[in-house]
Each structure stands twice: as structure tokens, then as C-alpha cells.
């Protein structure tokens, strides 16, 4: 069951825009003792323990922002479950000497509505993209574009982005957002 003090935090995490940052940091601070626990219980070094905890918090934030956290257990219990699962996965990877970097691939929900065949086609093609180059080119976009795309990838609708960034309508945001994506594509494919 959720505790009363957790509701305010959850409300804050469901905001869009920069108002949410304060609550993200609040969530991180509230249970950061999990990090020490990971060091004692699982024998992780400081860096691994920090990574597990911060990845868990980020995962929790995504779920809460999407409305996928239903509040059947307390926030602490739920976060600890995510954290524990990540720690166990890391222990297993270390035990089998797998050196690959574990990355949870972010995909929009609608990807799962595609046919299996379409998903396989796209999975293969996505592997071919130079991900690091794409992230580098992201840095060449203007501040407005980066902010708009960040809100979009966090799950904000065009209407919500319009309210946060003070654009007139959702349509204006959509046009702007697609222009930013097209600009990113051009930067990626340019010779420089």
C-alpha cells in the first residue's frame, strides 16, 4: 500500500517539463541508501552499486511518468524490487563473464503493436545505425529542438509540450518537432 508522503512525490513525477526535475532528485535522495546496501549485500564496488540504483530510479521515473505504476505496493517496495532485479541480473552477467554492456533499448510502446515480422526487420536495421554518431549530432541541434525532443522522448504529448514550451498549439509543436528530427537526420548523413 502506498504511504501518504509518497503521493506528493508521485504527483510531481507525473509533471512534464523542468518542474519534474526536483521530484526526480527527491526520489533519488530518498532511497539512496540502497547503494550502500548493494555494496554490502551483493559485493558491488561503488560504481556498479551507483549504476544499479540510478538505473532503477530512471526506470521507475519512466514507469511513473507513463502512468504504469499503479500504487498497489509502496513506492519504496516497488523501487526496491526493480533495484534487486537489476542487481541479480548484474551478478549473473558477472558470473558468466559476459562483457557486453547491458542496455535496455528504449522503444516507443507502439513498436510492440507491429507484426512480429515488421519488428524483426526493424530490430536488424536499428542495429546498423551508428548510435554514438547520432548522439553526437544531437548535440549540434539548437536548444529549443533538444528540449522539444527530450520532452517527446519522455512521453509528453505535443499538447503538453506546447503548454510547457509556450507554443500556441499542438500542431505548431508537431511541425517543429518533425523539423528537428529531419534536421538531425540531415546532420547524421552529412559528410562532416
Amino acid at each position: 500500500m502506498m504511504k501518504p508522503e509518497e503521493y506528493d512525490l508521485l504527483m510531481g513525477l507525473q509533471q512534464t517539463g523542468t518542474g519534474r526535475r526536483k521530484y526526480e532528485e527527491m526520489l533519488f535522495r530518498r532511497y539512496d541508501y540502497f547503494i550502500r546496501e548493494a555494496q554490502k549485500k551483493y559485493g558491488f564496488d561503488g560504481e556498479d552499486a551507483f549504476d544499479m540504483y540510478s538505473d532503477s530510479v530512471i526506470s521507475a521515473i519512466d514507469h511513473i511518468a507513463d502512468g504504469r505504476f499503479e500504487g498497489r505496493s509502496s513506492l519504496k517496495t516497488w523501487l526496491y524490487q526493480i533495484f534487486h532485479n537489476k542487481c541479480v541480473s548484474l551478478l549473473r552477467r558477472k558470473a558468466t563473464n559476459k562483457n557486453s554492456i547491458h542496455r535496455t533499448v528504449a522503444i516507443p510502446d507502439m513498436f510492440l503493436e507491429l507484426s512480429d515480422a515488421a519488428q524483426s526487420v526493424l530490430d536488424k536495421l536499428i542495429q546498423e545505425a551508428d548510435f554514438e554518431k547520432l548522439k553526437l549530432k544531437l548535440g549540434h541541434l539548437g536548444e529549443n529542438c533538444r528540449r522539444m525532443l527530450a520532452l517527446w522522448s519522455d512521453g509528453s504529448s505535443d499538447r503538453e509540450i506546447a503548454a510547457v514550451m509556450e507554443y500556441k498549439t499542438a500542431d505548431v509543436v508537431k511541425t517543429g518537432r518533425l523539423r528537428c528530427l529531419e534536421k538531425l537526420r540531415q546532420l547524421y548523413h552529412s559528410a562532416q
Binding site: 508521485l10 547503494i35 540510478s54 502512468g67 516507443p108 545505425a129 522522448s153
Partner: protein, 251 residues
């Protein structure tokens, strides 16, 4: 950008925004399977999404690293946490004094929003309409208990419904209303926020009800946030727009 590419980007974006019909979604999948050039465009759209999302994740991690480093440094300094507690207590006392002064010195301050919310609650939430002959239905039982002012028992029934379907919009709405009547504003806000996010609802009062709870709760910052939400309700033509516009005029 060629117009064909513009059109495709818009089409791809509409797919991932969930804006296409069932038939159009099937056609989209088929096109990905059979048109390699189109599949490349879709994969690149997804790669861009992933890159942006990953950058957001790295930015958060960097912030958390800073916070954690500060927190560790603070823990190592003896007496720091005790000194900090006194500093927070002093700041809280000053803030409380300031808020009380504003409440008592400014006439009418804090009364209007609360009375607007009170009048609405008294009028609209005094009872919940029960459908005759459906005494066995859990939702109707919950409403009947609410009408008898057995709020705790009615909430239990609505929460039972939510355990089997967490997006049951009626259970969310009534659970929020019960919590509001019980004075459990944080929980009411939680239910109304979830209600707000129920997809495909024709007339969703979630946002308006959130503003209502904030006006009733009236903590520091609540009135301002309620006003912002009411403006959104009005601008986005949401359920509660008529009330929202009346209240905004008399702000």
C-alpha cells in the same frame, strides 16, 4: 527534405503517436515488411528516439552523481546533519510565520478558492447516482455506501475494482471523490491523475477534478497550480470547461 520524405516522417510519427486506425496500423506493418526504403526510414526514426532517450538518461545520471557526491560529502562532515536540521527547522518556522501573516493580514486571502471548491463539492458530490436494480454490482454497491456516508467501505469496493482493472475510469473517479470527501487530498490527487491518463475517454474530468482538490487543499502553491490547470481545461475544451471558465473569471 523532399515532400515524400516529409510525408513519410509525418506518417511514421502518427503511427507511433497511436493516431492511426486499426486498418492503417496493419497497412503500416505490411509496408515495413515489404518496402525496404520505408523500413529504413522507420528504423531511423526509432534510432533517433532511442538516441534522445539515452541522452536524457545520461543527463539524469550525471545529476544523480552530483547529488550523491554531495550527499556523501555531507555525511562525512561531523555535526553537519544536526546543523542542517536546525537550519531547516528555522527556515520552516520563518516560512510558517510568513504564510500565517499573509492569511490573516490579507482580507479574503485563501477563502475564495476553498469556497468555490466547497460549493461545487456540496452540489455535485453530495450523492452519487445509483442505477436501480443493480445492488449486486460492486460499483453500484460502492456508490450506495457512499450515499450512506460510509466512505471507508465504499472506497474499499472501488479499490477492489481497481485491483482487477487499474484503468476502470468510473472506479478511479469515485475512489478520488471518496478520498476528497475524506480529506485525503494526496490520495484524491493520485486517483484523479490516473483518471486523467485513461486513454480514449470521451469526457474525462480528471484534470478538472485535480484543480478542485488543489483548491480544497489550499497548501502553498496549490491555488496557482489550480489556476494553471483550469486554464488548460478551458483551452483544451475538457470536461469541466464551463465551471473552469466561471471560476477563472472570478479569480
Amino acid at each position: 527534405m523532399t515532400s515524400a520524405m516529409e510525408g513519410n516522417l509525418d506518417y511514421i510519427d502518427n503511427y507511433f503517436a497511436g493516431a492511426l486506425s486499426g486498418e492503417e496500423m496493419t497497412e503500416f506493418s505490411r509496408k515495413v515488411e515489404t518496402d525496404p526504403a520505408f523500413a529504413h526510414e522507420v528504423s531511423f526514426y526509432l534510432s533517433m528516439f532511442r538516441a534522445v532517450k539515452d541522452e536524457g538518461k545520461q543527463e539524469r545520471k550525471a545529476r544523480f552523481q552530483q547529488i550523491y557526491a554531495q550527499s556523501l560529502a555531507g555525511r562525512r562532515r561531523p555535526g553537519t546533519s544536526v546543523r542542517r536540521i536546525w537550519q531547516f527547522a528555522a527556515a520552516a518556522a520563518v516560512l510558517a510565520l510568513a504564510v500565517l501573516s499573509v492569511m490573516y493580514l490579507l482580507p479574503g486571502s485563501g477563502r475564495d478558492p476553498g469556497s468555490l471548491a466547497d460549493a461545487y463539492i456540496t452540489k455535485k458530490f453530495a450523492t452519487l447516482g445509483v442505477t436501480m436494480g443493480t445492488a449486486t454490482d460492486t460499483l453500484e454497491k460502492g456508490k450506495a455506501l457512499y450515499n450512506e456516508k460510509k466512505f471507508a467501505e465504499s472506497l474499499q469496493l472501488f479499490e477492489t475494482l481497481l485491483r482487477s482493472d487499474s484503468s476502470d475510469f468510473e472506479a478511479l473517479k469515485f475512489a478520488g471523490i471518496v478520498c476528497l470527501r475524506q480529506g485525503n487530498y494526496e490520495k484524491a490527487l493520485w486517483y484523479f491523475t490516473r483518471l486523467q491518463h485513461v486513454p480514449g475517454l470521451y469526457a474525462n474530468p480528471g484534470k478538472f477534478y485535480r484543480a478542485l482538490v488543489l483548491l480544497k487543499r489550499n497548501k502553498a502553491g496549490d491555488k496557482k497550480m489550480a489556476k494553471q490547470i483550469l486554464e488548460q481545461v478551458s483551452n483544451e475544451d475538457l470536461e469541466g470547461k464551463e465551471e473552469a471558465e466561471k471560476w477563472l473569471k472570478s479569480w
